[in-house]
């Protein structure tokens, strides 16, 4: 409750399932304790706020030593869907909401969600491609202006 003047700006640049959650969890945690939160989605992070792609974020075990799976196995077809399924189960077990619900929670809690203009242009996306919770499309300079007095996290 001493956090009322704190502000957090989170840049989400990765679109895999395991890299989507840290930003969402921290944004929501900040809001729960009274910190103002701005989220900026760019590059592959756009998948998290993309209406269709957000339903299907993947966890890729290939090249990830933390999974303990040898790369020679991780490269096999079906490994990524299987690992993704396992991660979904794990997330469910600890009561983590799915990505769409998480964005809705953050939005309803007053967190602001911004899409990167450059990434939109590069990927030929329009605002219709993005979930309703997106507050707007902004450029890097606009975002840095919003984040002027914030702590910045790059994920």
């Amino acid at each position: 409750m001493a956090d009322e003047d704190r502000k957090l700006a989170i840049i989400c640049s990765k679109g895999t399932l395991d890299m989507a959650y840290p930003g969402l969890v921290l944004a929501n945690a900040g809001l729960m304790m009274g910190i103002e939160v701005e989220m900026f989605f760019t590059f592959w992070g756009m998948d998290i706020i993309h209406k269709e792609k957000q339903k299907n974020l993947k966890f890729v075990p290939l090249g990830n030593p933390s999974t303990g799976m040898p790369n020679i196995l991780a490269v096999l077809p079906g490994m990524s869907p299987m690992a993704t399924k396992m991660m979904h189960k794990g997330l469910e077990k600890i009561d983590m909401p799915p990505v769409d619900e998480f964005l809705e929670m953050i939005h309803d809690a007053g967190g602001r969600i911004w899409a990167c203009r450059m990434a939109m242009d590069m990927m030929n996306l329009s605002e219709d491609d993005l979930v309703d919770e997106v507050d707007g499309v902004v450029g890097a300079m606009e975002f840095l202006e919003m984040a002027e007095d914030a702590q910045i996290l790059f994920i």
């Binding site: 409750m1 729960m32 009561d95």
Partner: protein, 100 residues
């Protein structure tokens, strides 16, 4: 009449023992937080107390919004700027530790 000074608080200003809680205690904390408790506030507090009695833990905000009948948007209006801590305090529980 009881005041906050009569209550045993922990280092963070939360009620030290959740068993010392009563609606009167909630009213004292509400004054401290500048919140005027309405039926909707009580709906949340009563739900949290009930869950604590069952599980010995504070339910996550996500669970509160799903089970108490008070949705996220309203929850943040009822307990503005940091609902997790405010709800815990008003419900006589310690500083919340959960991540959602």
């Amino acid at each position: 009449m009881t005041t906050l000074a009569d209550l045993k608080l922990d280092a963070d200003g939360y009620l030290a023992d959740p068993n010392d809680w009563s609606p009167e205690v909630a009213e004292l904390f509400a004054q401290e937080l500048g919140i005027e408790l309405t039926d909707r506030h009580w709906q949340v507090i009563n739900y949290v107390r009930q869950e604590w009695e069952k599980n010995g833990d504070m339910p996550s905000l996500r669970r509160i919004t799903k089970q108490s009948g008070v949705p996220t948007k309203e929850l943040y209006k009822l307990f503005p700027k940091g609902p997790a801590g405010k709800i815990a305090k008003l419900s006589g529980l310690g500083k919340p530790k959960g991540c959602i």
